[in-house]
Symmetry: C2
Amino acid sequence: MSLLTTNTALVGRVTVAVDAMGGDFAPQATVIAALESLKRNEALSIILVGDQSKLEALLYLNFDKNTPLSGDMPIVSEVPDNPPLAPHLKTLFTAYKESGRLIIHHAPDVVLMSDRPSRALRRKQNSSMAIALQLVKDGVAGGCVSAGNTGALMLLGRSILGMCPGIDRPAITKKLPAPKGSCYVLDLGANVDSTAEHLYQFGLMGSILVETLEGIDKPRVALINVGEEEIKGSEQVRLASSMLVECDGINYVGYIEGSDLFNDVADVVVCDGFVGNIALKTGEGVAKLLYQSLFRIFEAHWYTRILGKLVIPLFRRLLKKIDPAKHNGALFIGLQGVVVKSHGNADAEAFSCAIDQAFNEVERKVPDMINSRLDELLF
Amino acid sequence: MSLLTTNTALVGRVTVAVDAMGGDFAPQATVIAALESLKRNEALSIILVGDQSKLEALLYLNFDKNTPLSGDMPIVSEVPDNPPLAPHLKTLFTAYKESGRLIIHHAPDVVLMSDRPSRALRRKQNSSMAIALQLVKDGVAGGCVSAGNTGALMLLGRSILGMCPGIDRPAITKKLPAPKGSCYVLDLGANVDSTAEHLYQFGLMGSILVETLEGIDKPRVALINVGEEEIKGSEQVRLASSMLVECDGINYVGYIEGSDLFNDVADVVVCDGFVGNIALKTGEGVAKLLYQSLFRIFEAHWYTRILGKLVIPLFRRLLKKIDPAKHNGALFIGLQGVVVKSHGNADAEAFSCAIDQAFNEVERKVPDMINSRLDELLF
């Protein structure tokens, strides 16, 4: 740890600890993503946390797995599943390492996707995920990013970082991409069976988050509910609504429906994690389905294929603007530190977005803001 | 009632009772929809249930609201908000009335969107909604359709028609439009806070429904849940899963995520009504957003406008195939009778789809099938 704290390249920069071993395409995708983010943000330093030999092997191994390993390669326990880096990325990797903006921090263990969160908590304190969190706790890194096991990240995060006072459970949130008036939805899956009190706390945290990250004064906070004319929601939702109504510090605007998520009627949308997760994934499913159908339209005839060639580039711009994959990176809030969760199947480009999110949150001191504003609102 | 039961035009036909006063555009949209459905289905008869004077006024009033009312108009309490029918529709209306395939059945009262369901149950037994349900109960109509208050429709439906034995609560379901492998999702909002037992019953009913309506043998039944690697769902969902695993009569395939709804992995997807409602409406919101964005793409330049003119007709075909509005009509299942709920803001075309759904369900004797198959599965 002392090596890290005396590193001069970290001074005056935002340092993000990256769980280099988490996600379907780790460590290759996480390493390339780190290089991309370092290129984009001059004020960023990254600590890659993971199996040192595997990470360094990315630099030394040749493209062809079958080629005999060269003499200057460190001893690795096994050849990584992902091919090593392209030559220009190897050069970049080496340069950032030498400048001190990219540091490899060894972690002997990995949290598996199949690990039960409670097992990870007991047994995986030496995992890349746990050590990345510990670097945040120790103040070496400002925040961390992982594409690994969500449940484990939540439990380890709670245990290592602790909670903001007045908050019972962390929530996962992200900004829903929309052409205008996008909103943050929370919770997106950290909690199932949220009580009214939890929903209320999500509302408070969401409001502070959006104020801090987006610079919106008095963001509109809404609760998601079933249609007006239906039996209006569960006991918990109605109770949470009455608690939010009575809270002077936030701008509660009442119930909204799922279809209103894209209608610029709220900046913060509160729901239980089960509901939020299913809604988000259904929305992503619809978007994917529509794009596939659109592209298929142009395959029908020779003239539609020509039309397609002209039109598809226009679509791609739209796709980039609203495709959830390009907005990868969900924020765990309520923890005493910045923790960003990437999609497990994020590629390097998407994972790099998640690193940028962490950078942004650290720079804007989100946990400090949540702590101090909660103090005003709750105590 | 005797007039209806002796009507020879009803014999050998499927009769659907239409709540002519329910929905945002009633009675004009409901009446036009009835005419459309009658035109499409030779084997259909319709009983329009509603304020007789208002319904007949559609025939007699002139287009211009300000024109003095003509002498042959019946006395109406007030001029309807919607303009009366176009001349060719008036002709059609008269012709179907004379043939006996379209009958007006007077109902003095209306359930308002703002009515609490419990109030509708106590006070609105003479509403168009309640009388339409009563016509089903009495065997005069095979099924009914309403675009009115969903909660009231559920409570009145339970009270007037009763439940299938072994089923505690009705569920709302509909087929999610997809290019291939579409599935029925239930519940979509009739029940919030469903227990494991309720979810289990939804699975049974959904399986029988899809077998009957779609002719799929042993439909794949799935439970919706949060991602594999997350804390896997609520207590209820896990308990419902273990109940479904143990049921030999249905083909339970386990958990799916929101994004799998369009991946042809299940024919029946079970969830709590709160979750289903929010997921469906979020999906609709995404679809609408994408279409609006697509159309906007072409507005940018003169050459993209020309491209748009060529491409948009291709889109419209896709839109027609998967736009939820064109698949209007959700089924209330678990009741002893066919009840179809239309979107409140359905126009005539969409409402007509809901009538067709009821026609289809009655023709395939869905409630009888559910009763007899439940008897095999449960008792």
